[in-house]
Symmetry: C3
Subunit: 138 residues, 3 copies
């Protein structure tokens, strides 16, 4: 069986938003007591969905430092500069880190590891409204 | 219910092939009026499947420029050089950007965002036939 | 229908463990004669699951060389250093290369391409026990 819900996430410019609690709550509500897979999809090309360490905020700060090397803002090699120096960098970060996740659950409870959190990573420097689709397969 | 179709994509050396229309058409045909998830899988280790910006071709050109930094062709550090300077670079690009995508659909219509396109990224410099498997879950 | 199995993988420090045979065997056992998707999920943030070339071990050695550039051990920019110089590097490698895979199968047989293998990539320099969840959808 397929159940789906739309999640809207407000970002405040570049940085991470922890979605773990929202996804846990939605899966528990859509599929209480069921086993299955939860698929989270982001309908944008300049932010990412990722799973990473949930305990030390320094991990996310360091990921941000590394991403600036992987795809520098305002790199002179870029041809795509329409929306500013973070525009092409954001598309590249999104390609490198992905726009979808699939996570198993059991009896309505996400089977994340102890140290795993689900994050939206906003790559644009200005605030955005991001639309996600959560699909629950049981 | 599971339905599956094989897609063959002819590439013309390194570059992007837009698969959005083909995937849209196949999902609409395999699961008209149904809700579900479409999974696209590439059976190769030297090309990628990715979702990126569909409007400005400069974005793909810039991704190509960045990929040459992430995994340079003919890097002196490579031990794997069997098929030429693009061989190991292609495997590394494939690992970084992935060989599978899962996209939600509703009533047979893919729920991509306005600016999202589905692309095969050929990483080898010579033309190849690439075999993809589209699996539709409803 | 959903079937699930837990796989435990013992790693011996940084490097690749070939899981292809174990995943093939488990899918054949859980869903003999059925068509579907196999989802493999790693419950950790410092190792990866990936599909890459299965013939020449030099490919994996070269991926390791590249990963040391993508996320250097002990980089002076890192704030997260709790567990040593490989700690933050391991989280970054995991984000770049992913912690889950979805692979199609037919009549209980994984539809990997000829040159595709499924690997766990341990990013920590010391041995770890890694817990994976294999979910089979038919």
């Amino acid at each position: 069986m397929i159940r789906r819900e739309r999640l809207v996430v407000e970002t405040q410019g570049r940085g991470f938003r922890d979605l773990t609690a929202r996804v846990r709550e939605a899966v528990a509500r859509l599929a209480p007591d069921a086993d299955g897979l939860a698929h989270l999809f982001c309908r944008h090309t300049s932010c990412s969905l990722l799973i990473t360490e949930n305990a030390d905020p320094d991990v996310r700060a360091d990921l941000e430092r590394l991403a600036r090397r992987w795809a520098p803002d305002g790199d002179p090699a870029y041809a795509h500069r329409i929306e500013g120096p973070d525009d092409m960098a954001a598309h590249a970060r999104s390609v490198l880190t992905g726009c979808a996740l699939t996570v198993p659950f059991e009896k309505g409870r996400l089977l994340l590891g102890t140290w795993q959190g689900i994050y939206l990573w906003e790559h644009r420097t200005t605030p955005h409204l991001r639309e996600l689709l959560l699909t629950v397969l049981t």
